[in-house]
Amino acid sequence: MNFEFTEEQGMLRDSVARFVQDSYDFDTRRKIAASDEGMSRENWQTFAELGWLSVPFAESHGGFGGGPVDTLVMMEEFGKGIVLEPYLATVLLFGGLLQRGGSVEQQAELIPRIIEGSCLGAFAYLERQSRHVITDIKTTAAVQGDQLVLNGEKVVVFNGASADQLIVAARSSGEQSDEDGITLVLVPADAAGVERTAYRMMDGQVVANITFNDVRVPVSDIVGEAGEGCAVMSPVITRANVALAAEALGIMGQLNAKTLEYTKTRKQFDVPIGSFQALQHRMVDTFMAYEQVKSLLYRAVCELDGEGDDAAACVHALKVLVDRNGKKIFGEAIQLHGGMGITDELDIGHYAKRLMMINTTFGNGDYHQAKFNELRYSA
């Protein structure tokens, strides 16, 4: 039994932690969030130089060959700084799909470019009606000779406005919500017929709605097998969910630490408000809520790393607990800061908003609880 990180993982974590500490203070982040792209390309280059963009990729493509634990340590630190740069969208989703389902040519062309920081990617999977069911897809991909023709619309595409390349989940056969018949297609963001509408979310990131109007790409740009996209995206999303939980853990830790600090210094009735037992018990609750998330996260990562049978249930459970405990933690953080907690100026609200966005990504708590129930209790 061992819950320690390896030396390499420790170094990776320290390297991200140092960057957040030195170059990502709250004011800097605020400026980046207010910029047109809602992220900094300069930082992205730094990520490349520090080798972070290579972490999950196979060594044969110039990657670091890292596993879920390596992703975990990085994402937790990103969470502490509410880092805006599109690591999830470009490396874990776009890169993850290529790594898992891409052809040798696709991988050889794109993965090195991701690693060197010259290709930003996005995974266009959501549609207006999909909510948490990602197989609910109306965008069509039809074969015409050696071409694929895409029509439809994707919404809330993370990094969608800045990405150079997209992987689009489209329907090539089957009914609207079927798992079968989904085809993943690589589409250059500047292809004819692609139109992007950018807008900003509460966590600072800029997303896009993207319409596809008779967009034509060669069939060789399919990622994985035609109609079998679900098999490629499911494991990538499962891993992304764990990565997001790690980011959430970093956020929760910050919220708890900052709140604790505040209650030790803020005085009312001539004493620090942290001396009130009514508040102490609630901070004990949020402390425990944090520890529980951490435990379940480690459990999920161990299952994933060892390809355990219980990985799916673990990840559903993790999403449920992140949602529930996250709400509890940011709710208490705001409440215990009193009026200060309601200001835009304080970082507390910004941590809260990122947690809220994480909870709506790849299924909210209720969605995952229903999935968990199905796995565990259906006859």
Partner: protein, 392 residues
């Protein structure tokens, strides 16, 4: 025990409904929803209520109240919420007005009450300070008497709508002798006075309603002192119970829950509406059940008040439960909006965006975090109940 409405109550309800249907028109609603026109639209609406004679249901008839009984007040509130109409801006009508008619002199009543009733004066509340929130009595903004003026120096914070205000009612320190509650006075200050500076505070919902108000040797005529010097705490306390009862907003929560339910019914995916999802149903009914009870808790408090009693510690309970329920509804609506809850205001139409209510849900939810903090935080309310009701 009987809560059914008499025929005259039903007639009253129809009258209220008819008035709202006509007076709260869509043109006005559009102006209320636009930040640029918000202030003048609020004034316009409140003037319509004034002309109808319904602007101050809580006031005694002699000062411009409606003379309604508890049932009528309940009906009015319910219909207002059901019509989706915001409550009046409370600072003048629900806060300083009652203090002035209860504790002000005749001259003050004549000078200030008409402007409040007719919404010609916009008031704001200058109680909280950076160092005095829950512990309000520790406030430090001081007023020193010089001849027939007070000279006021200090800072107030979280002052809602100070940027619109013509007047601010303030608690200021006039003495450091004895208990800290004893040296506080209640002053009415013209916001145009030299030495006042208003600094905006952007809140977590990305809007600007909060402010910091600085006072730098602001000269205030002694004629603007309410009641006696050093007795302001007594006047302010009398008002707090009213404020809390008003914050509960049960009728508004009911309406909001019904709307949320309708939104959920329209969210269809995987061939099923969200409303048919058992987990969602549980969330919905958890809230509805609490609200069913809370509605009657509110009626019980109203009945006590109508019978001549004062809303005491019950108002704390209404405030706690009421705000918890508001937040629960706001949160549920966010769940219905799913990822669209994150959308910040932009120039896109709902058609372009693909969604209608996400951004509004977020704004209400984020600002809604404040309801358990202002008006005496819910923790402080629990302390009051523990002490005053449970004798702990």
């Amino acid at each position: 025990m009987d809560t059914s409405f008499a025929p005259e109550d039903l007639a009253f309800r129809d009258e209220v409904r008819a008035f709202f249907a006509e007076a709260y028109d869509s043109e006005l609603q559009a102006r209320l929803n636009n930040l640029e026109t918000f202030k003048e639209a609020v004034i316009d609406w409140q003037k319509r209520l004034y002309r109808k004679g319904w602007i101050a249901p809580g006031w005694p008839k002699e000062y411009g109240g409606t003379g309604w009984n508890a049932t009528q007040k309940f009906i009015y509130e319910t219909e207002r919420s059901a019509a989706g109409i915001r409550d009046v801006i409370p600072f003048g009508l629900n806060m300083v007005g009652p203090v002035i008619y209860a504790f002000g002199n005749e001259e003050q009543k004549a000078r200030f009450l008409p402007g409040i009733l007719q919404s010609d004066d916009w008031w704001c509340q200058g109680y909280s300070e950076p160092g005095a929130g829950s512990d309000l009595a520790s406030l430090k903004t001081r007023a020193v008497r010089e001849g027939d003026e007070y000279v006021v120096t200090g800072a107030k914070i979280w002052t809602s709508y100070a940027q619109y205000a013509d007047w601010i009612f303030c608690l200021v320190r006039t003495s450091n002798e004895g208990k800290k509650q004893n040296g506080i006075s209640f002053l009415l200050i013209d916001m145009k006075s030299p030495g006042i500076k208003v600094n905006p505070i952007v809140s977590i919902d990305n809007h600007h309603s909060l402010n910091e108000v600085e006072f730098n040797e602001v000269r205030v005529p002694v004629a603007n002192l309410i009641g006696e010097q050093d007795k302001g705490w007594t006047y302010a306390k009398a008002l707090l119970a009213h404020e809390r009862t008003a914050i509960a907003g049960v009728a508004d929560s009911k309406r909001s829950l019904a709307e949320t339910r309708a939104f959920a019914e329209r969210e269809v995916n995987g061939g099923k509406s969200l409303l048919s999802d058992p987990l969602f149903q549980k969330r919905l009914s958890d809230i509805e059940i609490e609200l069913m009870a809370l509605e009657f808790t509110e009626l019980r408090v109203l009945a006590t008040v109508a019978a001549g009693g004062a809303p005491g510690a019950e108002s704390s309970m209404l405030k706690i439960k009421g705000t918890e329920m508001q937040q629960a509804v706001q949160e549920l609506r966010m769940e219905v909006a799913a990822y669209y809850q994150g959308v910040l205001p932009n120039d896109l139409t709902p058609e372009q965006l693909g969604h209608g209510f996400g951004s509004q849900a977020r704004q209400t939810y984020m600002y809604g975090r404040a309801s358990t903090i202002y008006g005496g935080s819910n923790e402080v309310q629990k302390n009051i109940i523990a002490k005053a009701v449970l004798g702990l």
